[in-house]
């Protein structure tokens, strides 16, 4: 018994995986972001990573909502669906359940993903479908020309908050963790290598991968993350977290993070008081630690944590769907529609 879709899946599997280069993932559409927009880099890094994944491009689908970032699918030479505002994660969920054979990606913004799309976002995290979510966080609504977003810092003056915003911002990493996500990471548009690495790890993770990407909107929120991306300040403002490694940062690699009680604090490695062995060592399998690191995010006395917060295994939703189907078929045999229609209490009229 095989459906029309099975035929497509089978025939597509006959083709080997072509040796791609980044350019193979560029579509024929003109890229239409503002000159200088951070989205360009994220697009480039994504296209650069794709060949490494050894997945045929016709098996890839990029799904987005609405926003500048959500134009992304148009530029990928894969399948794509530019949906409606906030619903990319829900659309992707249906696609992935129907077609577990596909590599499904969601591209979203801070407004699309966690303002209007917040509900689908948190539910995707807990369900753990094998979908990769790239959230371009520019702390602003770009496409609608500059209102504050749920990640904008308090006091932000925008078109809709001329007196400054009074909403406490989400920390998307904590939100994902609080929603029981299994893979949570953060990267930066202006650190191409780091971003490539994270996108690759996200793709490899089996389960929902959530990647928050700090992205510069040079038109409506220029420099929002320069502290974390620009040469002069970056080293002292960011701590790159890596599995199994102590948390060290600073231009001279002379600072570290240790726990004081449950609270992370910055210590100097120079004055002899503390050494590397006193420092917090990252373990991306530890859910509790992931919360501790995430909670560093908006604390101005701490460097901004960047990297993979958590990467754990948990049953994947669509796998369980398939298992239940297999189980039911084993128990009851392949469903027979004619038999079903004629089942139950029936009677015959002559």
């Amino acid at each position: 018994m095989s459906t029309r879709v099975d035929e497509i899946v089978r025939s597509s599997q006959m083709i080997g995986i072509p040796k791609y280069i980044a350019k193979d993932f560029q579509s024929d559409q003109d890229v239409r972001w503002c000159p200088g927009c951070g989205d360009y880099s994220i697009l480039a890094q994504t296209q650069r990573v794709m060949p490494d994944l050894a997945i045929p491009r016709h098996k890839m689908v990029f799904i987005s909502g609405i926003g500048c970032s959500s134009r992304f699918p148009y530029y990928m030479n894969t399948y794509g669906l530019h949906g409606i505002h906030g619903r990319a994660t829900a659309i992707a969920s249906g696609l992935k359940i129907a077609r577990p054979d596909l590599s499904v990606w969601v591209v979203t913004g801070d407004g699309d993903g966690i303002s209007i799309g917040g509900n689908h976002f948190i539910h995707l995290m807990r369900r753990n479908l094998d979908i990769n979510v790239l959230l371009f966080n520019n702390q602003i609504y770009g496409l609608t020309k500059g209102q504050y977003s749920p990640t904008s810092e308090m006091g932000k003056v925008t078109k809709s908050t001329p007196y400054g915003s009074i909403d406490y911002p989400f920390n998307p990493v904590s939100l994902a963790l609080g929603s029981s996500a299994t893979f949570v990471a953060r990267s930066l548009d202006r650190d191409p290598k780091h971003l490539q690495g994270i996108i690759k790890r996200a793709a490899e993770h089996k389960g929902t991968s959530f990647v928050e990407i700090y992205q510069n909107c040079n038109v409506f929120n220029d420099g929002a993350f320069f502290q974390f991306t620009e040469k002069e300040t970056k080293d002292d403002s960011v701590v790159f977290i890596e599995h199994g490694k102590p948390l060290i940062f600073g231009k001279e690699k002379d600072k570290g993070i240790r726990l004081h009680g449950f609270s992370p604090e910055v210590v100097s490695l120079k004055d002899g008081k503390y050494s590397v062995s006193d420092l917090l060592v990252h373990d991306e399998k530890d859910t509790t630690l992931s919360f501790i690191l995430a909670d560093m995010t908006y604390k101005s006395h701490l460097p901004r944590p960047v990297g993979i917060f958590l990467a754990i295994d948990r049953p994947v939703y669509e796998d369980e769907v398939e298992k239940q189907i297999a189980f039911a078929k084993e128990k009851r045999g392949e469903g027979d529609i004619v038999r079903l229609l004629n089942s139950g209490d029936t009677w015959i009229v002559q």
Binding site: H58, I66, S93, G94, A98, D101, I325, I337, N342, W347
Partner: protein, 613 residues
């Protein structure tokens, strides 16, 4: 034992009524199944409160189940009932209005305690104060008799009390000459794990039957012969089950897997429940976090090549409208089943209504036309859903299938269709990259190709921004937009060429044409038939396709002097008919959360024919 008289009847309507916890729905369903097996035609109407389990004895906690069966064609669950089984005073009070004058009451006297009488607002016991004199009252100690039947079993009094509905059922089987076997079989299969309950229920059922047989209370038994139904194998089916099966049959015909993205809501939840049973059919059901995710996931699945559906009721449909617009512009197949309930807002969630038609037709931003099909009866839900799927796939479009609470919960005998004889559903995926254009169109249907991810060489992007004709690229070009808006509309219009012509029941011209749509079919057909038998010049036209209309509809309308459109809303279909055909149709609206009674339609027909309206 005196010999009992047997009297023959053409049709009977019985209503079982009791507390929500009294198992009246179960009793009704069992009576229905047995009656169906006997070959009667029938129609049922469950009627339960919005509260899950209201406190015992209260008026608002009454749960009822009405069955109308006969040896003739039965179109409705009956305007009024001939027999009312009342397990307590509240059940009597609430349902007495629907009992015909001179009808029969079978009352569980044990339920008529002082406390229950007070809860029901009776100052005196109506079984004793003569207030029911115009009815035939049979007062039976059902609870006591049940307890007696079980006295040697070591079971709790709670359990004993819960069995008493089987006593009532047994009694009714005896009176209406129905076999116990189907229910015995059912009890046996249902309670295999619980032998005590099994034993108790069997005993009580038989005790009820024996009570009828042995006591002097019931002097007459009734016989209702089998109806002349088309030959074939039948089963009883509710509208919601029929929708589920219709979707499954369509998926099979299309050779696609079925995907349902849905969020529970009364009275549509049973479709989700039913479909989640069929994993061995590769049916995938996704209980989403809300209605928006329900439809959005279905859109994703449709993009992936599933036969995708979403099911809901009014408030849920309101939430789905933005995504429906997306499905329209993406031109992907999708079936949206809306089981209407009383509105506006939360309204009357467990009651029926026809007030989502305008929402179905127009409730989206921009010009976003979708075909709309409405089912006429519970079993027609199967065909209407199947047809919705056929159109969705053939025309690459979301299709709205309308049902209502009355159809969804109601049931009737269903001539099980020959699967092979069902229409083909021509699902087809393009695979050839040569000349592939995602928004090129089939010349006849105007539908675009279905190109699913995974197909080598067909990578393309679709989305909610206006698309360029043929390429599907984003286009802001004014003339292209005008063209695409018209193409999408024209595609839906052309479906009129692919659906049956409208058919008039009765003369094809005359004084009055009564037009129905959806679940009011039965009541209106009954009313028109009766009026025709009385010699009135009245015909009936039932509209299954609400968008587009059958091509011959205008023609038909112009041949009648008067047109009447009864609806359970404030006049929705009538607006469309008047607008499109400029006919001075007259509405007839009752918005009570209940199906029409055929007598009220009859009365209106008479008034119109007499020129009173």
């Amino acid at each position: 034992m005196a010999e009992k008289k047997v009297r023959s009847l053409d049709e009977v309507t019985i209503r079982f009524a009791g507390d929500s916890g009294d198992g009246m729905q179960l009793t009704g369903t069992q009576f229905t199944n047995t009656t169906a097996i006997l070959g009667n035609d029938l129609s049922t109407l469950p009627d339960y409160p919005a509260e899950i389990r209201a406190p015992a004895g209260t008026l608002f906690g009454v749960s009822g189940f009405q069955i109308h069966f006969g040896s003739t064609k039965i179109h409705t669950p009956g305007d009024q009932c001939d027999v009312l089984v009342a397990m307590n005073p509240a059940a009597l009070k609430v349902n007495l209005v629907s009992l015909v004058d001179g009808g029969t009451i079978i009352a569980n006297t044990d339920g008529f305690t002082d406390k229950n009488l007070k809860l029901a607002g009776y100052a005196q016991n109506p079984l004793k104060d003569g207030s029911l004199d115009k009815y035939q009252v049979h007062a039976v100690d059902i609870s006591k008799l049940t307890a007696l039947a079980l006295q040697d079993l070591n079971i709790s009094s709670k359990l004993i009390d819960r069995s008493k509905n089987f006593f009532a059922l047994g009694m009714m089987y005896w009176i209406y000459n129905r076999p116990l076997e189907p229910t015995i079989e059912w009890i046996k299969s249902k309670f295999t794990q619980k032998p005590e309950i099994l034993e108790a229920n069997l005993r009580v059922l038989k005790a009820g039957w024996n009570f009828g047989e042995t006591t002097e209370i019931f002097s007459v038994r009734y016989e209702v012969g089998p109806a002349k139904l088309a030959p074939g194998r039948y089963r009883n089916i509710t509208g919601n089950q029929a929708i589920a099966w219709g979707l499954m049959a369509a998926a099979k015909k299309a050779n696609l897997d079925l995907f349902l993205g849905s969020y529970p809501i009364t009275p549509a939840s049973e479709i989700l429940h039913e479909l989640s049973l069929y994993k061995s059919f590769s049916v995938k059901t996704f209980q989403a976090e809300d209605e928006i995710a329900g439809i959005s996931s279905a859109i994703g699945a449709s993009f992936g090549g599933a036969l995708a559906a979403t099911t809901t009721s009014g408030p849920g449909l309101a939430l789905k409208t933005e995504a429906m617009g997306l499905a329209v512009i993406l031109e992907l197949p999708l079936i949206i089943c809306n089981v209407q309930r009383g509105g506006p807002s939360t309204g009357l969630p467990t009651k029926t209504e026809q007030s989502d038609l305008l929402q179905a037709l127009y409730g989206r931003n921009g010009e976003a036309p979708v075909p709309v099909i409405a089912a006429a009866t519970p079993s027609d839900c199967f065909d209407a859903t199947f047809e919705a799927a056929r159109i969705a796939v053939k025309y690459m479009t979301p299709v709205m299938m309308l049902s209502d609470g009355y159809l969804g919960n109601g049931s009737e005998p269903w001539l099980i269709p020959d699967f092979n004889a069902l229409p083909e559903i021509p699902a087809k995926f393009v695979t050839n990259p040569e000349g592939f254009l995602p928004y090129s169109r089939d010349e006849e249907t105007l539908s675009r190709p279905w190109a699913i991810p995974g197909t080598p060489g067909l990578q393309h992007r679709i989305g909610g921004l206006e698309k360029e004709h043929l390429t599907g690229n984003v286009s802001y070009d004014p003339e292209n937009h005008d063209k695409m808006v018209r193409l999408r509309a024209e595609k839906i219009e052309r479906i009129a060429n692919d659906i049956p012509l409208a058919q008039v029941e009765g003369d094809t011209e005359g004084e009055l044409l009564v037009i129905s749509w959806g679940g009011t079919y039965g009541a209106i057909r009954t009313a028109v038939n009766r009026q025709r038998q009385k010699g009135s010049s009245v015909s009936h036209l039932h509209l299954r396709y609400l968008n587009p209309f059958p091509r011959n509809l205008g023609e038909i309308l112009y041949r009648f002097r008067n047109i009447m459109v009864p609806e359970i809303n404030l006049g929705q279909l009538i607006r469309i008919l008047r607008s499109k055909y400029l006919v001075p149709a007259i509405g007839f609206d009752r918005v009570r959360g209940l199906p029409f009674k055929s007598v009220e339609i009859e009365k209106e027909i008479e008034d119109i024919l007499k020129g009173k309206k």
